[in-house]
Amino acid sequence: MKHMTRLLGAVSLAVTSLAAPVFADGGTLVIASTQVPRHLNGAVQSGIATAVPSTQIFASPLRYDENWEPQPYLAESWEVSEDGLSVTLNLVQNATFHDGKPVTSEDVAFSIMTTKENHPFKSMFAPVDTIETPDAHTAVIKLSQPHPALLLALSPALAPVLPKHVFGDGQDAKSHPANSAPVGSGPFMLEEFTPGEAVVMKKNPNFFIDGRPKLDEIIIRIIKDPSALLIAMENGEADMYPFMAGSQEIKRLEKAEHLGVTTDGYAAVGPINWLAFNTASEKLSDVRVRQAIAYAVDREFITKALHRGVSAPQRGPIIESSPFFDESIPSYDVDLDKAKALMAEAGFADGMDLTIDYIPGPKEQQQSLAEYMKSQLKKIGINVTVRAAPDFPTWAGRVGGHDFELSMDVVFNWGDPVIGVHRTYLSSNIRQGVIWSNTQQYANEKVDEILNAAAVEADPAKRKALYAEFQQMVAADLPIYWINALPYHTAYDKKLQNVPTGIWGTMHPMDQVSWSE
């Protein structure tokens, strides 16, 4: 009988816990994501999917606040030399890796060099010649040229500090087994990584910042079906959903009473949705044709109607929320007469046929816009054929292989223009077969010159002026027609405190996030 009672108790407990999801102990944050990380090491892999867990597991020299200002992290202070050719990092004394070994300047030097060699963003650390380590807590980065983008590149999302004693064993860093079982010095330690399913991270009790992290556990749940993900958010199975971009998703979660929805947290990512022109194609080599297309497309209609007001217009190559954005950039407001006149001037008064590709993904940003272009460009005599790609490899093969005329694409700024903007416009980065290089094959010597000067300009005001000039020039040449900033939103349980809304959003240590109850 006693057993029977116990059994009944267990059953009823189980049934109640199944019927109404309960918070385990207030210490767990469940993040829902549609993105699948290959592994968890952000030193050799870019992208949101890896960066979110990587920035919890690994600490980095610096972190950034919401005003784009660097803040101490593993480096408690730092100095840039007068000539801009050396940057000294003074590391905290008490930081240890999750296996108990201390974090030293050797680890920092090793990590930056590993990232330099293996990370796809070559421009982040290209000017780094050597890193000197005069003592265990001082690292001096020696540069071949001044490199103002360096400090931002030392952010958690881009410069995880790896333990040399784990990753320095001579194996290829890109496929190192520890990438899937990483040891870092960040606020959370990896507990379990099931590829394609979940990442479970537990609190690091020896984290070098006192009193942090607040949460006991962060679980990233990968739910590839957006509708199932929304239900999980609505019924409390998941607490946070970053990088949400669908207008229907956003509107739906905005209605959930226990959820807050914010657009903050994506300034550094700078995701730009654009129409790329193959400037090497005969029909599109004339800038007037590209400008005509720009005048025919209604950016306002796209953001207000097609995206139902959730996305923001984007007029140039640098995301509008960046301090480097130039407000005076021409916006090519819709003007069909002007567009037709430009077509006639270019010798295409009778119109032309064009093909448009689009990167496979959420329909609303890409496919719908390609279809909109078809109907809109018809008004100026351009007959557009929409060419679908069944999957990413097919599309990447076409655009990377320069076998396209128009293509919808999404490209990220990644903080400093040197990292995510230069690659699209430098003529030295025209690389056949390489996606997200200068696939437009745009070449303008003056633009090359300005970008190369901006990369080494230490004076922020002068640098900003150089980028303003750059923006005016590419807006005139129009190798790309920028349309909108991808409407990334974060939905979160309102009981969460300190939701990550800095420039890097969730690609930033969540050591201050906590539950209010």
Binding site: P21, V30, G47, P195, P393, I435, W436
Partner: protein, 324 residues
């Protein structure tokens, strides 16, 4: 049952597996798209040198037939290679997922056989009654409706209208630290919708099949004899008739196993069930050759094994075949 028969079946099974491996390998290579570009794309773009080094690392720069030879040699040693995407052994990835898939498939199989046969038997009792008509209509609809549609309808019904079942995943993350019993109930709770979705299409088939099979058997002499000697209706139906009507059901059950596994791919995708089907689906989009081939290898292996077992059990169930 003689040994040479079993050995012959095993040999054919092995030959079939070899054919499957070769066919899979060549078919996948025919699909456009370069895995190196996908990997580089996932990394955020790359240089030519990086693409070359990726191709080199994964042996993609060797001639296709050489790659095939290497692959067969590796598979013969039970080495399915490393996933291009996750850089982990394919066997590890499949190891994580084979359990959930087997759980889903077996549950659906049992559910469809038990419920289907039961419905069929009931219907066969009065072939012109309302129950029989219901079974026929239900079977037609169940067979005609695509499984993913059923899944989505069930999700809408049980998530928005009457939210009593979880709609995705296999367990609730917030019960991670709970005891075994609670966790088992949690898995069961998650299992109901996907298993039922997968079962419906086959359930309908079993119902029709057992109805037809039972009708035939119920008209035979030995049933009349059983009735004449005063056996109860239940005993007549389930003991005398069903046992004889079961043979075609058994055959179909074995043959259906392959369909169930391919159905599981869709159901797993709809319900975010952490099984092999979803792994296969995602891997195809990523051109992750080793993983796709590994999943196909395991799936074919399960089908071949199921067929051999059906063959053998057929002989066990039918005494007339035992001596052959």
């Amino acid at each position: 049952m003689n040994t040479s028969y079993i050995l012959r079946r095993l040999f054919y099974g092995l030959l079939l597996m070899l054919g499957v491996v070769v066919l899979n390998f060549l078919l996948i290579r025919l699909a456009p798209g370069d895995p190196a570009v996908v990997i580089a794309g996932e990394m955020g773009g790359a240089t030519e040198e990086m693409l070359e080094s990726i191709r080199e690392e994964y042996g993609l720069n060797k001639p296709v037939l050489t790659q095939l030879g290497i692959y067969i040699a590796n598979v013969a040693q039970f080495d399915l290679g490393e996933s291009f995407f996750f850089n982990q052994p394919v066997t590890t990835l499949i190891g994580h997922r084979i359990g959930p898939t087997i759980l889903l498939v077996i549950t659906a199989q049992l559910l469809s056989i038990v419920l289907g046969v039961f419905l069929g038997v009931i219907a066969a009792r009065k072939p012109n009654g309302p129950m029989s008509a219901f079974v026929s209509v239900f079977a037609t609809i169940g067979y005609a409706v695509p499984v993913f549609w059923t899944g989505i309808m069930l999700i809408i019904l049980f998530a928005s209208v009457v939210p009593i079942f979880p709609v995705e995943g296999m367990q609730s993350v917030k019960l991670r630290d709970a005891g075994f019993f609670v966790k088992a109930l949690d898995v069961l709770h998650h299992l109901i919708l996907p298993a039922f979705t997968l079962a419906i299409i086959y359930l309908a088939q079993y119902a029709r099949l057992s109805r037809a099979s039972m009708l035939e058997v119920l008209g035979s002499d030995y049933i009349r004899t059983a009735r004449a000697k005063g056996a109860s209706e239940g005993s007549v139906l389930f003991k005398h008739a069903l046992r004889n009507a079961a043979l075609p059901i058994l055959t179909v059950a074995g043959l259906q196993f392959g369909n169930l596994i391919s159905g599981a791919l869709l159901v797993e995708t709809v319900f975010n069930w952490p099984g092999m089907g979803r792994l296969a689906f995602d891997s195809i989009l990523r051109r992750d050759y080793p993983t796709i081939m590994g999943v196909l290898f395991f799936a074919s292996f399960m089908v071949v094994v199921a067929n051999i077992l059906t063959d053998l059990s057929y002989r066990l169930a039918d005494p007339r075949l035992r001596g052959r």
